[in-house]
């Protein structure tokens, strides 16, 4: 510090002839908050970590392999695309990592190892980069990739039973009858029945499902972390989950409506979707009012698709559909600028009364 001092201090008695030290001129403000896009993405990765660890516990190391392949291929495709098109390389903002983890989380642990690569290509190249990269894509890359991967329906809907350890490195796993789970909670719910699994099992995450969706508890913990770190606001997740819960109570078939509603909230990908995917910055509204509408819209569509749809893909489809409306939601909830309110009292300022 002291060594540098002299070089920077302008000579004390600078005469007219000596060169003056000239400083950089920039536009105000001259200071900035610490948060960067990268720090936010790292926070999201931290929030996803508990669910990842749980997935390894329930589905074995194959779930980690799939997620890692997905992350590496996302980062790789982003790098290749930008390198080939001579664009600035942005892999260090870690947004591709987040997409990668989420693609992994959306696959069953039984998936062949080429499946995440195909999904990553679709998410990064087609959905994200072709639309201009980070901040420019219209729909959520992860969910678009998930829907794309439904071209291989069998791979996407074959789930392993919890605690059935599958080979961590085999390219494809041979699945025997006793390894495959007959049905996820959603299959039962789709038929209007209560699932086989207990509510506690669903809350903790001891059930078949895609890698990242099973543990409601840990996903919510990640969500709380994001809320504390102010990465997301409560509006979308709360509006989304509550809408699904409330509407499910009223649409429940005969039987225990509360149990049915709770199973609807915890039995599918709702928590993962509501906390981590509906809140994706780029494809969600910026206004809090619009965020509430977005959440409610997602919730209504989810229930609608779950009841009337052929697929039990309520969460993916509803978020993708709502993604398309973000521009209008933001536009129609534009706040009234300070001093433009019609009901503003304007000139009537009362004289400050004697105290």
């Amino acid at each position: 510090m002291n060594d540098e001092k002299k070089t920077a201090t302008p000579s004390k008695k600078s005469t007219e002839k000596t060169e003056k030290a000239l400083y950089t001129v920039t536009s105000s403000p001259h200071i900035k908050a610490q948060d960067t896009s990268r720090s936010i993405m790292i926070d999201v990765l931290i929030a996803l970590a508990p669910a990842m660890i749980w997935a390894v516990y329930v589905f074995g190391f194959r779930s980690l392999t799939i997620t890692l392949i997905s992350v590496l291929s996302c980062v790789g495709f982003e790098f290749l695309y930008q390198k080939l098109l001579h664009k600035p390389i942005t892999i260090l903002d870690f947004s591709a990592c987040v997409t990668g983890v989420l693609i992994g989380f959306n696959l069953p642990s039984t998936a062949p190892l080429w499946l995440p690569i195909a999904g990553s290509f679709f998410a990064i190249v087609i959905v994200k980069q072709l639309f201009g990269g980070i901040g420019k894509n219209i729909v959520n890359p992860t969910l678009a990739a998930r829907v794309f991967l439904f071209s291989w329906t069998t791979h996407m809907t074959t789930f392993a039973k919890p605690f059935e350890k599958l080979s961590a490195s085999a390219f494809t796993v041979k699945l025997s009858e006793d390894v495959i789970a007959t049905a996820t909670p959603m299959v039962y719910l789709n038929q209007g029945a209560l699932p086989q699994q207990s509510l506690l099992e669903m809350f903790l995450g001891i059930r078949p499902g895609v890698i990242g969706e099973v543990s409601v508890l840990l996903l919510l913990a990640g969500g709380v972390y994001l809320l504390i770190r102010k990465v997301i606001t409560w509006h979308i997740p709360v509006a989304y989950i509550l809408t699904v819960g409330l509407v499910s109570i009223f649409t429940a078939p005969a039987g225990n409506a509360i149990d049915y509603s709770l199973a609807q909230m915890m039995g599918g990908g709702l928590i993962l979707g509501a906390v981590f995917m509906a809140t994706d910055y780029t494809t969600s509204p910026v206004n809090n009012t619009a965020r509430l509408i977005f959440g409610v819209g997602c919730g209504l569509l989810t229930v609608f698709i779950r009841i009337f749809g052929g697929y039990s893909e309520g969460v993916s489809f509803s978020i993708l559909i709502m993604n398309l409306l973000v521009y209008y939601l933001d536009r129609f909830t534009k706040p009234i600028a300070f001093g433009k309110r019609k009901s503003n009292k304007g000139a009537e300022v009362k004289e400050n009364g004697k105290s």
């Binding site: 400083y23 001259h30 900035k32 903002d93 910026v286 933001d330 706040p335 300070f338 304007g346 300022v349």
Partner: protein, 461 residues
């Protein structure tokens, strides 16, 4: 309950100098006094090279229009009348005075002797104008003009002691060390505006000053001290009016239009000084801070002192300089020249290292996080404005109320994508203003044309 407004930014205040007493810095060997120190017409020099001037003597005057005279801050000899390039790129005349260090006070100055009760508003305005007082909070509007336009129109006088910009503590120290001058200045303003009540608005990070003022004013019926929540930009006059009255100043209106008038605390002290001693506005309190400055201080300095002397007085620099800022870090201007003189509007001099200031290495990308929206005190959507400004769609910026932006910088501050949102909105505003001016000019010329045509038709020779 502390008063506040909707929106805004909670940030680290960096009020490092809050406990440091104001020091009187000896005037330098040479001062450079710019002829344009505030909004309005630049002054014309009324002295020649070689003239001997005394402290407080008028050296620049405004022949006509908005503006106030400029006085010498030292006694000595005029050595040159040069042209100075200001940080906004404009040039103005500046008078260089060699200090004889005798501090001979101009003989024409004398304290105001009449009783305040017998003084008319016009007299007060005249004295304030002659003392060359301009708003010392940073916006530097000539004070006399502000009073003149408000007489009879306003019901509320507010003294702004919010000082919401980080680092700056000049007003805070003034309130602690010389609250009487602020209060007496406010009394003069009350008289000029013929009001009976004055509100003093202070942020709650200066609770010691609040206590001091409340104690002093416990007997007085003229003053109310209000505590406001510490939040940026509470010091903006719109936000002060909102916090105190609940009224949103309509877009494009002046505080006087809603019956309020706001003065900075130091302006009040300067007014009192002009009445009490006759000395015009020739010095001010400047906070010198930033991570490059060895010992941050509050200095009372002569107008025209180069920044370099203040920094030297504070022990010099300890790190390579990244930015030299005049004013606060949020709304201040970056200066390129360390020899820039202190003017009536210089509330702070901040020297930041490259690391402490805003970084420009990141490629700016909006990730659509929406963080700029809750912090906007004007309830705009900064991200949308930035996007449309960047592609030149200023018409859409106008729809999104770009002209309401007060350029407080809160959006740029929080932006994780490092988008220069404030700068982009500024660009949109400049373009919109130019478009409106062009439109107005076109309309005026068209009107003129039709008028002259009818005239021609009317009296053909």
């Amino acid at each position: 309950m502390a008063l506040t407004f909707r929106g805004g930014l909670l940030m680290n205040g960096h009020k490092n100098t809050r406990g440091v007493q104001i020091e009187y810095m000896p005037s330098p060997d040479k001062v450079t006094i710019p002829m344009s120190q505030h909004i309005g017409t630049p002054a014309t020099p009324v002295v020649k090279v070689g003239d001997i001037v005394e402290k407080g003597q008028k050296i620049g005057d405004i022949p006509a229009g908005l503006g106030c005279p400029i006085h010498s801050s030292v006694s000595g000899k005029v050595t040159a009348i040069t042209t100075l390039m200001l940080s906004n790129g404009r040039r103005c005349k500046a008078i260089e005075i060699e200090n004889d260090h005798l501090d001979t006070v101009y003989s024409g100055l004398e304290p105001f002797k009449k009783r305040l009760g017998d003084t008319s508003a016009e007299e007060i305005v005249e004295i304030i104008r002659n003392a060359g007082i301009a708003g010392m909070g940073g916006a530097t509007f000539p004070t006399y003009a502000k009073i003149q336009s408000a007489i009879g129109k306003v019901q509320r006088l507010i003294i702004n002691c919010a000082e919401c910009e980080p680092y700056i503590t000049a007003n805070h120290r003034l309130l602690l060390e010389d609250p009487a001058s602020v209060i007496n200045g406010a009394k003069i303003l009350l008289k000029a505006l013929s009001l009976r009540k004055c509100d003093i608005a202070i942020e709650d990070n200066k609770i010691d000053a609040v206590k001091k003022l409340r104690k002093m004013l416990s007997e007085s019926e003229l003053f109310d001290v209000h505590v406001m929540k510490t939040k940026y930009p509470q010091g903006d006059e719109r936000q002060i009016i909102y916090a105190l009255t609940g009224v949103e100043l309509p877009a494009g209106k002046l505080p006087a239009d809603v019956g309020c008038i706001i003065f900075n605390a130091e302006t009040c002290a300067a007014i009192f000084k002009a009445f009490h001693t006759g000395m015009p506005s020739v010095e001010r309190i400047v906070t010198v801070d930033g991570d490059c400055v060895k010992t941050p201080k509050n200095l009372n300095v002569a107008i025209g002192t180069p920044y370099s002397k203040l920094i030297e007085y504070c022990g010099g620099l300890k790190k390579p300089v990244g930015r030299l800022i005049s004013g606060g870090p949020m709304m201040g201007t970056a200066e390129w020249d360390i020899e820039t003189p202190v003017t009536k509007g210089t509330s702070a001099i901040l020297v930041f290292s490259e690391k402490a200031t805003r970084q420009y290495d990141q490629k700016p990308v909006c990730i659509h996080c929406g963080r700029c929206i809750p912090v906007c005190p004007m309830h705009l959507i900064p991200t949308t404005l930035a996007v449309y400004s960047e592609i030149g769609r200023y018409d859409i910026c106008d729809e999104y109320d770009a002209m309401c932006c007060v350029e407080c910088g809160a959006c740029s501050y929080v932006c994780p994508g490092a988008v220069p949102i404030t700068a982009l909105i500024r660009k949109a505003k400049d373009n919109l203003r130019a478009q409106n001016a062009a439109k107005a000019a076109l309309a005026a010329s068209a009107e003129k044309k039709t008028a002259s045509e009818t005239e021609k038709g009317g009296d053909k020779k």
